[in-house]
């Protein structure tokens, strides 16, 4: 076999990693390199996106696979064993050097390392842990590390991964367990859940108040997961129910949704399609409503029902629940205001601030929000009442953003 250059390996192994949506470098502890030997800092809150690709996605981390050789045959994955994609494998030292080289030039916040399964789950996980360990111990690297966990790997290895990594993630892959059996025959839905459960226990343990000795570090930025959308027949209702379960059971920081994207080498088991990007966007909006706006998943949409692609899920909810509107912005509770379409967390907080000093008018609302016309049917201010507008039959049509026309 011809030896690949490092650049060619980087090309193959970053190309292979791009289907993982997450590139977050947020939510970990605060630390820096003062007093150490190496480089790196994290600010504890939000991460930094060092570049954006033309797909609009943030590039925060060096997101690569250790190898794209894989013994699994997951239909949706370009790296499945039956794919004819070019293969490569980094050595531990190569990944360490690239990470440090990129970091010192301020290209990245750190490393997101994933891998195809070679030999066994444990062997693969050991190699990944070796990278993180070398960065942390040999090079005193204090930047961000995200490790993908192989669910089959032994709990001891996962614990070691969590000791060096800020975040660890295990992909649930598909919304339905039955689709996982069909499309990823080697993966085991129960095994994935068990691994997530162990991670949660580890995180909880590390966050307990120390009685005598401080418990060892365990992934301070928590765990996340990813679901592929559009590769199986699961509806948005099922997907959101699954997410709600994941947030609840395993304390996920994030569930990422990744529109099934055509890959350069497809299998007849899963034909290529254009990625359902709008559907993915609506799922993110719905997910946001669950996490920050106090919505339950079955308020947004129920089992068997997809989200409305034309309007955002909060507006769709409001249109179904017009009895709850209009909301008087001068008197309503915060929770009620958050459920009003067109109002975000920040504008609600400013309004609550402001109304202690004056009666809110439509002009005030206009200054604090982006689209007043979308808001007007749902609110009452000192100088505005929507009257019959809230109940108009064509309200949905009025509020649906115009479709972009394509050149014919």
């Amino acid at each position: 076999m011809v030896a690949l250059t490092l650049k060619r390996k980087l090309e193959i192994l970053s190309d292979a990693a791009k289907y993982d949506a997450s590139c977050a470098s947020s939510g970990t502890v605060k630390r820096d390199s003062v007093g150490g030997k190496g480089v790196g800092s994290t600010d504890g809150g939000m991460g930094i996106c060092h570049a954006y690709a033309p797909d609009g996605r943030c590039i925060s981390l060096l997101k690569i696979l250790l190898t794209n050789f894989c013994v699994y045959d997951c239909a949706y994955c370009v790296n499945r064993v039956s794919s004819n994609t070019p293969r490569a494998r980094f050595s531990v030292a190569e990944v360490v050097d690239l990470t440090l080289g990129f970091y010192k030039r301020n290209y990245i916040e750190g490393l997101f390392l994933s891998s195809g399964i070679i030999r066994s789950g444990d062997y693969t996980m050991e190699e990944m842990v070796a990278v993180a360990k070398s960065l942390r111990i040999d090079h005193d690297f204090r930047g961000y590390i995200h490790l993908k966990v192989i669910p089959e790997a032994s709990p001891a290895l996962v614990n070691e991964a969590a000791l060096y990594a800020d975040r660890i993630s295990i992909n649930v892959e598909l919304p339905r367990d039955t689709s996982l059996a069909d499309l990823a025959p080697e993966k085991d839905a129960v095994g994935i859940k068990k691994a997530m459960g162990r991670v949660r226990l580890g995180i909880d343990q590390a966050n307990e108040k120390p009685i005598k000795t401080k418990p060892p570090k365990f992934a301070p930025a928590g765990q996340s997961t990813q679901m592929i959308v559009g590769a199986d027949a699961a509806t948005d209702g099922e997907i959101l129910a699954k997410s709600a379960g994941l947030y609840g059971a395993y304390g996920m920081r994030r569930v990422y949704y990744s529109a099934y994207s055509p890959i350069p080498d497809t299998t007849s088991r899963l034909p290529p399609v254009r990625p359902p990007l709008m559907r993915e966007h609506r799922l993110y909006q719905a997910d946001w409503l669950m996490r920050f706006y106090g919505f339950a998943h079955d308020e947004i949409t129920v089992q068997g029902v997809d989200l409305d692609l034309d309007i955002d899920p909060k507006l769709a909810w409001a249109l179904r629940n017009r009895g709850d509107f209009p909301v008087d912005l001068n008197t309503a509770e915060r929770e009620t205001m958050l459920r009003t379409p067109g109002l975000g967390v920040r504008s609600v907080e400013r309004m609550i601030d402001l109304r202690r000093y004056k009666q809110l008018t439509l002009e005030d609302v206009k200054r604090l929000t982006r689209r007043l016309d979308k808001l007007k049917p749902f609110i009452i201010t000192a100088d505005w009442r929507p009257g019959a507008l809230t109940d108009k039959a064509d309200l949905r049509a009025r509020l649906t953003p115009p479709q972009q026309l394509s050149l014919f």
Binding site: E11, A51, S83, P262, P264
Partner: protein, 474 residues
């Protein structure tokens, strides 16, 4: 008009002192001209400021923080905006809560833009190595607002053990591993040239991009074009965008690919395992199984699978290569020209055909079309291996004492390795199942030998080998 001169564009301390003094004296906002040292020639020299009046006044921590941020904005009106707000705070102590007040809106906008500029500086500075020292770096950067000095501690903490400089048109900051130093603004020419790793970074940038998800607006919103000229990766963007649609269309339109070699091998192994469990128990089962066999792709172009023929059990088994054109059509082995040659030689060697089982190493006819003719092609080792299972089944059922391999393909199948005929013929070779193996030519070889003398000699050897085998078997 009062002219106030501050020490620099970001002189927060100077502005705060001046503002404290001016408000103490009741100088109204619209009577002050704020200037910065160096641009004062246009204006009269500033009047010295009165010392702040005793007692003074207080403002909230929140206003001070807002002012500290707003000072860094490039807008010329920032000093007067802040002074006007300070002035109004006397009568409107809750001014900052009125998020819709035009001054508050403006100040909040400025502060947000400054915060964003600082964030983008943390993100978009690109260090390059300087000289031979692998741990010395410098960067050229053009911040949207005057945030360089406020961002310096971030870089000092992140890269505490490197030596680095960030050069900007406003000001330069330097870290020597222990201390931050500030020098006047620089020129892009002072910055180091391209870094060797930038090519790797571009490779990464291009590869991590998914062309099926083109969202140019989302990119430019977060990575505004004003930063592109100092980002080594940005030069790739136009080409990546231009090629994206074509790459996606191609991916969606492509036919599903065949699984790769490794997987086909694995699939074959799995399938063969199933066959093994259902091993045929009769020649009829072999015959039916051969016809239905999909272990290799040869069935696709062949008419039928051709099993062996003859009595069971039999003392002697003859193994040829594969069915030819005639055999493929007839469904019986050795019925074509080679079969006639074999019959003749068997008769001459004194071998009764009724005691002989005749079969092939490969049961389907491998050929290529030339016009309307089907031209024989030699089966490859994987096809021979796939079909060996059928031959083994036949051997189990026939239980021959001697197996004669006719030609190289048969020898490969029976002995499991390439066995040169010239060297191996004329001797009995032990086979694992207690049978003996005899190697000889394929009858079709005898048909192909060009000159008559060689042909006669080969035929003689062939008959000799068959007689040898029959003697071994008797």
């Amino acid at each position: 008009m009062r002219v106030v001169r501050l020490a620099s564009e970001i002189d927060f301390v100077g502005w705060r002192e001046a503002a404290r003094s001016l408000r103490g004296q009741g100088v109204a906002p619209d009577t002050i001209i704020w200037t910065v040292d160096g641009e004062g020639d246009l204006f009269a020299d500033p009047e010295p400021l009165a010392p702040p009046s005793p007692g003074g006044f207080t403002v909230s921590r929140e206003f001070l923080e807002l002012a500290e941020a707003v000072i860094l904005h490039r807008s010329a009106e920032r000093f007067s905006l802040l002074y006007r707000m300070l002035w109004r705070l006397a009568a409107e102590p809750n001014l900052l809560r009125i998020a819709t007040d035009p001054d508050v809106v403006r100040a909040n906008d400025f502060a947000r833009q400054v915060s964003r500029a600082a964030h983008k500086m943390k993100a978009f500075v690109r260090f390059r190595t300087v000289g031979a020292d692998p741990e010395a770096y410098a960067a050229w950067f053009e911040p949207a607002h005057r945030v360089t000095e406020s961002v310096a501690p971030f870089f000092a903490k992140r890269f505490a053990n490197m030596i680095w400089s960030i050069l900007t048109p406003d000001v330069c900051i330097h870290w020597n591993g222990a201390q931050l130093a500030v020098t006047p603004g620089a020129d892009p020419a002072d910055a180091p040239g391209e870094d060797a790793l930038e090519d790797y970074w571009r490779t990464y940038y291009a590869s991590i991009f998914n062309p099926a998800r083109l969202k140019v607006d989302a990119m430019t919103k977060e990575m505004p074009k004003r930063y592109w000229r100092n980002l080594p990766e940005a030069r790739l963007i136009p080409d990546l965008i231009a090629a994206a649609e074509g790459r996606t269309t191609l991916m969606v339109a492509q036919a599903p690919s065949q699984p790769n070699r490794v997987v086909r091998q694995m699939a074959r192994t799995a399938r063969d395992a199933t066959f093994d469990a259902l091993s045929p128990q009769s020649l009829e089962a072999v015959s039916a199984g051969v016809d239905a066999c999909r272990r290799c792709p040869l069935y696709k172009e062949a008419t039928q699978g051709v099993p062996g023929g003859g009595p069971a059990p039999a003392r002697l088994m003859l193994v040829g290569e594969q069915p030819g054109d005639q055999e493929d059509l007839a469904g019986r082995p050795f019925v074509g020209p080679a079969g006639q040659m074999l019959d003749k030689a068997l008769a001459e060697a004194g071998v009764p055909r009724s005691e002989t089982y005749v079969t092939n190493a490969v049961k389907h006819f491998k050929h290529a079309l030339r016009g309307k003719r089907r031209i024989h092609q030699t089966p490859n080792p994987s096809e021979v291996t796939a079909c060996r299972w059928w031959l083994d089944a036949e051997r189990r059922l026939i239980r021959p004492r001697v197996v004669v391999t006719l030609g190289a393909t048969a020898a490969l199948s029976v002995f499991g390795k390439a066995t040169p005929i010239g060297e191996s013929r004329g001797i009995a070779l032990q086979l694992p199942d207690q049978a003996q193996g005899v190697v000889t030519y394929h009858p079709s070889y005898l048909l192909r030998v060009p000159d008559a003398a060689s042909k006669a000699k080969a035929y003689m050897l062939f008959v000799q080998d068959l007689r040898f085998a029959w003697e071994l078997a008797s």
